[in-house]
């Protein structure tokens, strides 16, 4: 049974991988990758790595691929760009691929990997269970766990920074700091002033907004600055 499943899912994974690489349309390539990942999850199941398989589907397919789809939709790019390109690496890539295939063949046909032909470990129902993995994560591999958390944090911050729109200072907008700023009332230029909580502009019509829910809920006022890029000007 396992063999049958393997010989269905395995080739499926390979074909989907080929599809990822070969398809011109980026959408189809991403979808092909999704299929590949699902096939891989099946293979994980066959290897008694059920937790990893589920995480693969949830995280990898569910989050990362969705992100890919979003960006593909945003960036577009129907096909590979035409026009002049750098030196063609087609033949080099074929050569590398061929050499790797040859390596593979040698490792199998040769007797270099006898180790993997022997019997593996006996069946252990606990293997791959969330409990076991959780125990490992929080005992022996705690540093790894925390480190990967930190990595995620860094990646998040980095992603935000990268995608942030930066316009720069337009001419006429230069802020010069003068000594008179010392005499400006406190809170000038802050968010509170921006929302009208302090330093009221003489003659402005104040619409005081009270918190709707919870204590000290931040005011969700939108200050329309005229363009629709989704960011606000602070005045």
């Amino acid at each position: 049974m396992a063999e049958l499943l393997f010989f269905i899912v395995g080739p499926l994974a390979v074909i989907a991988a080929v599809g990822t690489v070969a398809l011109r349309n980026p959408f189809f390539a991403v979808l092909s990758l999704v299929v590949h990942l699902l096939a891989l999850a099946m293979l994980f199941m066959l290897l008694q790595a059920q937790f990893v398989a589920v995480v693969q589907v949830l995280v990898y397919v569910g989050a990362v691929m969705v992100l890919y789809l979003f960006v593909t939709a945003y960036v577009g790019g129907d096909a590979d760009p035409r026009g002049g390109s750098g030196p063609s690496l087609r033949w080099l890539s074929y050569a590398i691929g061929a050499s790797l295939v040859v390596l593979l063949a040698i490792t199998f046909i040769g007797s270099g990997l006898q180790a993997i032909d022997t019997r593996g470990a006996p069946y252990d129902p606990e293997l791959g269970s969330p409990g076991q993995i959780g125990e490992l994560l929080l005992s022996r591999y705690l540093v790894v766990f925390e480190g990967s958390a930190l990595l995620l944090l860094v990646a998040t911050v980095g992603a935000v920074v990268l995608a942030r729109r930066r316009r720069g200072v337009l001419p006429g907008e230069d802020r010069t700091i003068s000594a008179l700023d010392l005499f400006a009332p406190t809170g000038t230029g802050s968010m509170r002033e921006g929302v009208g909580a302090i330093n009221p502009v003489p003659g402005a019509i104040r619409a005081r907004i009270t918190p709707q829910t919870g204590a000290a809920s931040p005011p969700s006022a939108e200050f329309d600055d005229g363009d629709d890029d989704g960011t606000e000007d602070r005045r």
Partner: protein
């Protein structure tokens, strides 16, 4: 089912990913091929974990997934930034670090 089959599949996927990496020009496609290669590695790790009966391999596979996610986030952020700043989204055009 001997592990060799799984390893063969893993190697094949790795090669396919490498070939795609060298051939495609759209950064997005390059990242996709990178994903392929990472997943191939994951498969190999899990296969060996089964062989040894150790769950450490699973832990490592999870960490690889974390890393892959982080890397995808950053990579896509770069692609978006490129697209936003009207720079050509073509790996061959991005050569300002040439020596």
């Amino acid at each position: 089912m001997s592990i060799g089959w799984f390893l063969a599949v893993s190697a094949l996927i790795f090669i396919i990913g490498a070939a795609g990496l060298l051939t495609r020009r759209h950064p997005l496609m390059i990242l996709l091929c990178l994903e392929l290669m990472l997943n191939a590695g994951n498969l190999a790790i899990v296969a060996f974990a089964r062989m040894h009966g150790a769950a450490e391999g699973h832990v490592f596979a999870l960490v690889v997934m974390v890393v892959a996610a982080a890397e995808v986030a950053i990579g896509l952020g770069i692609v978006v930034a490129l697209y936003r700043n009207r720079v050509a989204v073509d790996a061959d055009e991005l050569r300002e670090l040439h020596g």
